[in-house]
Symmetry: C2
C-alpha cells in the first residue's frame, strides 16, 4: 500500500537572544538574536516536527517569516513540496514556493528567514525518512553515502571587555585540548602591532599541539590596512586571513590576493548565487588555497548553497575549499553530505547554538555527526530548551 | 536666544497594501505592501511630525523597524542626531546611529527599513527648518539653490490579466496627454515577437507627441534572451532598455553593453554603496548614455544615495545619468536638490503612493516640486488618508 503524503499543518517561530558582551572588529553582539522555527506535519496519523534556527550574526527574522514566507509555505499546494514518491517532502522545492513574487537583488534578511525555514523542512523530511540529516541530504542529491565525521574548526577569540591579557591563549588552549586542529580568532579590533602580538601568542599556543590558527577581520579593513595585515600575516604560519575587506569589495579583495601569500577566506556575508558568482569571477582568490565560507542558513537554504557549490566547480573550485560559516546543524550536515573541506563550530560562543559545546571532544579535528533521524538538534537538551518558544 | 534642540518623542509604523493584479516579467504585485512611518518630535513647546513611506516592490518592513531600527533611533543620544547649530536634526547622521551592530554585506530588506525611516527624518527636519524638502536637502549638502521643477517620466505598461489588446496604447496615451515626454512599459512577460509588437505600438503612440518609450525587463532575462531583445531594441528609437539581466549579473550586463546600442539602465535593485561600486566597475555600461536608477528609500536613505552619486563621479558618471526609481517623494526631492537627470513617477500605479496621480499635469515632461515645508506628502489627501495607521 502506498504511504500517505506529508502535509504541513503548522509553522511557528520565536525570537531567542544570543547576546553576549563580546565584539569583533565590526559589531557588538550584545543585542544579537536568532529565530527558532518549528514546522509541524502529518503523514497519516503520525505527527512530525522539524526544527530550524538561524545562524548567528544577522538577527532574528520574525517579521519577514510571519509577513511573507510562512504564509506562502502554508498556502502552497502540498504536491508542490512532495518528493517523487509522494510520501515525503522534497525540501529542495521550498525555495521556489516561498520566493514567489520576490524581486531579484537585495539578498539580505529574507535570505536568513528562508534559510531557517528550509532548515526546519530538512530536519522534518529526514525524520520522516528515518535518516540522519546528512544521510538524507546526500541521498536527496544523489551523492555517495557520506562519512560520519567531518573536519571542524573552533571559532572564538573575540574581543572581550576587561579580559585578562592571557584570556585569548586560555580560550584557544581549551579548544586545542578538546581536539581541534584549527582555531580561529578575531583581529582588527586593535592596532596591527597589538594584533600581531595576539596572533603570535595564539600561533605559539597552537604549535604545542601541532594545530594552526586562522584570523578573521570581519570585513572591517580599508584596502591599505588589509594589505598591511596581509603582508604581516604572510610572514607567519597563519591558516587563513578571513574577510580582509568588505564582503562585497571584490576589487579590493583581488588587490589583496595579488599582494599576499597567506590563504584568503570570505563568503559568510554573501547570501545568494549571483553574489557568489561575482566573488568567484571578480575576487581574484586562488582556488587552490582560498576558502569559501557561505552559510546555507543565512543564504536561502541548502538548495541555494548547492547551486553555489556547482558555480564554484564551474570556476575551478573543488569542494574541499568550501568551509561553511558555522554553529549550525544544517551546515554541519551539508559538510558531510557534500564532502566539503570543514565546518565552523563554536565550542563556547552563541550557546546553545554553536552545534558543539565546551564539553564536546573532537577526534584529531573531526566531529562525529549526530546519528539520530533529522539534523540532531534533539541531542542538545539545552538547545531544545532554548527553542521552547516554538514547542509549547 | 538660542533655539531649543529637537527631540524625537516617538516613531510609529504601519503596513499598507499597495496590491494590484498587475505583473511585470518577474513578479505579481497582488500582495505588495509598503511601510508608512511617522516620527514625532518636539522643539520647545512645538510639536513636529515627519512622514515616510517605502518605495514599491520590496514589501513593508515592520518587523525590522520594530525589532532593530526604531529602538536604536529612540535610544540614541539626541546630540548624535543634531545639526551643527543644535536647533534641528541632521538626517545625514541617522544612518550611522541605526546601523550600529549591523554586519557588512546582505544589503536587502534592512536597507528599505532604514531608508523609510530616514525619509521621515528628512520630512521632519525640513518642516523644522520651514523649507520645502528639496531646498532643505540642497542646503544641507551645500548644493546651489535647486530648481523648482524636474524631469519626470511616467512608469506603467504592466501586464494586466484580461486586458484588451489596445489597453497599453490607451494607458500610454493618457500619460502623453498629461504632458509626459518619456513613458515606460514592461517587457519580458510575453514572447519577443509579441513584445516587439507592443513596443512598436507604444513607440508609434509616443511619436505623435514627440515623446519616447523606455522598456523594462525587470531582470528576468537570461543572457541569450537579453541579447536578442537588446539587438531588436537597438533597431528602434527606444529611450532605454532597463534591467536586461539579473541586477547583480555585472558580467552579463557587460556582455549586453558590448553587443547593443540601445542605452541601458539598471540599479533599482542595488541597495548599498558597495553594490553600486561593483556595478560601476564591472557592469560595462557607457557613462555617456546609460541610466542609474538607485532608489534612496530602498537603499538606506539619502546619505547612502549621496555616496552613490559621489562614487559615480569617481567612475566618470555625471549626475544627469542618475534617474531614481520612483513613486517616492524623497527621490523626487533628491532629483531637484542634486540636479539629477529625472525621476520616475507612477500616474496610475501604486496609488496613492505614486507621487503624482492621474490628474497631475506635467509641463513638457517637468513636474513642479511641492512648495510647502517638508517633502510635501500633505499635498495628497489620499496619501495622508492611507497613512492614517500611523497618525491615529
Amino acid at each position: 500500500m502506498r504511504s500517505a503524503a506529508v502535509t504541513i499543518t503548522g509553522v511557528r517561530d520565536a525570537v531567542v537572544s544570543v547576546g553576549s558582551p563580546m565584539r569583533n572588529a565590526y559589531v557588538s553582539f550584545s543585542t544579537m538574536t536568532c529565530s527558532v522555527i518549528a514546522v509541524e506535519a502529518r503523514r497519516g496519523d503520525r505527527q512530525f516536527f522539524g526544527f530550524g534556527y538561524t545562524s548567528n550574526g544577522r538577527y532574528a527574522q520574525s517579521g519577514l517569516l510571519r509577513d511573507r514566507f510562512i504564509p506562502r509555505l502554508l498556502a502552497a499546494d502540498p504536491a508542490a513540496l512532495a518528493d517523487e514518491a509522494g510520501d515525503n517532502l522534497d525540501p529542495r522545492a521550498m525555495r521556489r514556493i516561498v520566493m514567489a513574487d520576490e524581486k531579484p537583488g537585495g539578498h539580505g534578511e529574507r535570505s536568513v528567514a528562508v534559510g531557517g525555514l528550509e532548515m526546519a523542512i530538512w530536519d522534518l523530511a529526514a525524520k520522516v525518512a528515518g535518516e540522519p540529516g546528512h544521510v538524507f541530504i546526500a541521498r536527496r542529491y544523489g551523492e555517495p553515502a557520506p562519512v560520519d565525521a567531518v573536519n571542524v574548526y573552533a571559532a572564538g577569540g573575540y574581543y572581550q571587555p576587561d579580559a585578562a591579557s592571557d584570556q585569548l591563549r586560555h580560550e584557544l588552549r581549551r579548544y586545542l585540548d578538546l581536539g581541534y586542529a584549527v582555531v580561529k580568532m578575531k583581529i582588527g579590533g586593535a592596532t596591527l602591532a597589538v594584533d600581531l602580538k595576539r596572533i603570535d601568542a595564539a600561533v605559539g599556543e597552537a604549535a604545542t599541539t601541532g594545530g594552526s590558527v586562522a584570523v578573521d577581520a570581519n570585513g572591517a579593513f580599508d584596502l591599505g590596512t588589509a594589505l598591511a595585515y596581509g603582508r604581516a600575516l604572510s610572514e607567519r604560519p597563519v591558516r587563513w586571513f578571513e574577510e580582509p575587506v568588505d564582503p562585497l569589495d571584490y576589487h579590493g579583495l583581488a588587490e589583496v590576493a595579488a599582494a599576499v601569500t597567506v590563504p584568503l577566506a570570505t563568503g559568510e556575508n554573501l547570501f545568494s548565487l549571483p553574489d557568489v558568482r561575482n566573488l568567484l569571477r571578480f575576487g581574484g582568490m586562488d582556488p587552490r588555497t582560498a576558502i569559501l565560507q557561505m552559510d546555507a542558513v543565512l543564504g536561502y537554504g541548502l538548495a541555494e548553497y548547492r547551486d553555489m557549490i556547482d558555480a564554484g566547480k564551474a570556476f575551478g573550485w573543488s569542494r574541499s575549499q568550501f568551509v561553511p560559516h558555522g554553529g549550525n546543524h544544517l551546515n554541519l550536515a551539508a559538510t558531510a553530505a557534500f564532502g566539503l573541506g570543514a565546518c565552523e563550530v563554536y565550542p563556547t560562543k552563541f550557546q546553545p547554538f554553536g552545534v558543539v559545546d565546551a564539553r564536546t571532544r573532537v577526534d584529531d579535528g573531526r566531529l562525529r555527526l549526530p546519528d539520530i533521524p533529522g539534523l540532531g538538534l534533539e541531542r542538545r537538551a539545552d538547545l531544545m530548551a532554548a527553542m521552547r518558544g516554538v514547542l509549547d
